[in-house]
Symmetry: C2
DNA sequence: GTTCGTAGTATCTATGTCGATACAACGCCG
DNA sequence: CGGCGTTGTATCGACATAGATACTACGAAC
């Protein structure tokens, strides 16, 4: 059973929800200069596409300047609003894509102390400071590998000079290098492991190799807890 | 125009795509012990719900043990597979929720050097090492505030002792404290700004206050570029 | 004033999803 | 042996979405 994490990106603006299809529509209008050509290029019906443009404009204001008649019969141009929507969508989509594509390290544990949404969670690798949902006590802490910072244990700054609240020292167990990015697997004392994504250059500078001692740090705000034992009976 | 970033969470397992509705269905079955009661509790029709269970099982194997007849008429229990699906979904959902809810700092810039997906991007605050799409040259770099590490400039480790490839020193401009988390805004020389999410405890330990000099660092793998000038004409 | 390619609008139809309904099959229990 | 509350299955209709089609309106260029 192979599980792939997926998602769909949306923007809720005023009254409407803009999805990928809408953004592709705006893109096509921008490229072709008319809604008719955009519809044809996308394989959509002109009528629906035009309706959708009006629907969005009713909610968020003008996203197009549409002209009928005139040289060439008229045409449609995007407004700056439309371009801003597209940029926002692309950024959000990239952020979500980052989450879906990146490995995470998972540590089951139990919540000890709590201050608001922040809590100390007891796990197999030690205490982790993380964001956890309000009512949870048994949780899984998950840490995105692109949030894990590696440092030489010798030079790791004193804990009070940084906002990296979680620091664990272990040994390098695996190194998988790509074109520019390397995935480093670090093993802690009993059986915990964490993965870190770092640039190849960082691998060189830290002179990482298997068996070496290394410190992995991550921020409390980058560690998220998910309630393990589910939903209370209602 | 207020824009809210939204998303829908999905898991693609073998042949099917499992969404929030499916997970809520599994949850209800688990709580009530039967598909009939689950359907009633969810306000769904039993027929559709049962069809969906079979549909999922055809793709991923048994997610329930269903018994008809017997004491109480029978009932339905979840398998461990179903529980694992639910945990995966919750983790993924939490990760996506983190992205959607967190502020990002955005820096427009132009790509200089590139090695695979990693590139040096020239921005208003200086050179940023970031992940950028293959064909882009004009990009927006966006940095999640929960990935920004704050350090005392005096104690900031030498750049070659860490995998934090991007370091910028500026002055604290704003501090907004919540129950447990504080959002710190840092201003760089000309006009660039970045936001960092840190624990309140970190604010204390770094003795953060407005006007103070501070170093903000983030990993190259946590900085993502989005193509600004869109899609090539086709 | 005719032409042309566009915008704008209304209506019909196909499609897919889901609830509603009805009924058979099952097996323990009294 | 009948009752009961399940699972299992088939069919119908409601609803929303979108394509297909047809027609009007527009305005510069020729």
């Amino acid at each position: 059973m192979t599980i792939e994490r997926e998602y769909t990106t949306k923007l809720a603006v005023d009254g409407v929800t803009i999805d990928r299809r809408d953004v592709e529509m705006l893109d096509a209008i921008d490229r072709h200069g008319s809604m008719h050509k955009a519809a044809e290029a996308l394989g959509r019906s002109y009528a629906r596409l035009q309706n959708r443009v009006v629907e969005i404009e009713d909610a968020v204001g003008p996203i197009t300047e549409r002209q009928r008649g005139g040289s060439g019969g008229g045409g449609t141009e995007l407004t700056e609003t439309a371009r801003e929507l597209r940029r926002q969508f692309d950024r959000h989509d990239a952020a979500l894509g980052g989450v879906a594509g990146i490995t995470e390290s998972v540590f089951p544990g139990t919540v000890r102390d709590r201050t608001g949404e922040l809590a100390t969670v007891e796990t197999e690798i030690g205490s982790i400071l993380a964001l956890v949902p309000d009512d949870a006590t048994e949780v899984q802490i998950s840490v995105r590998s692109d949030a894990v910072v590696l440092t030489d244990p010798e030079e790791t700054p004193r804990a009070d000079g940084t906002s990296l609240r979680n620091q664990f020292t272990g040994t390098v167990e695996g190194i998988e290098s790509g074109d520019a990015i390397t995935r480093v697997t670090i093993r802690f004392a009993p059986e915990g492991m964490i993965q870190a994504l770092v640039t190849n250059a960082s691998v060189d500078r830290l002179a990482l190799e298997s068996g070496q001692s290394i410190t992995a740090s991550f921020k409390a705000t980058a560690a998220r807890g998910v309630r393990l034992e589910p939903s209370a009976d209602e």
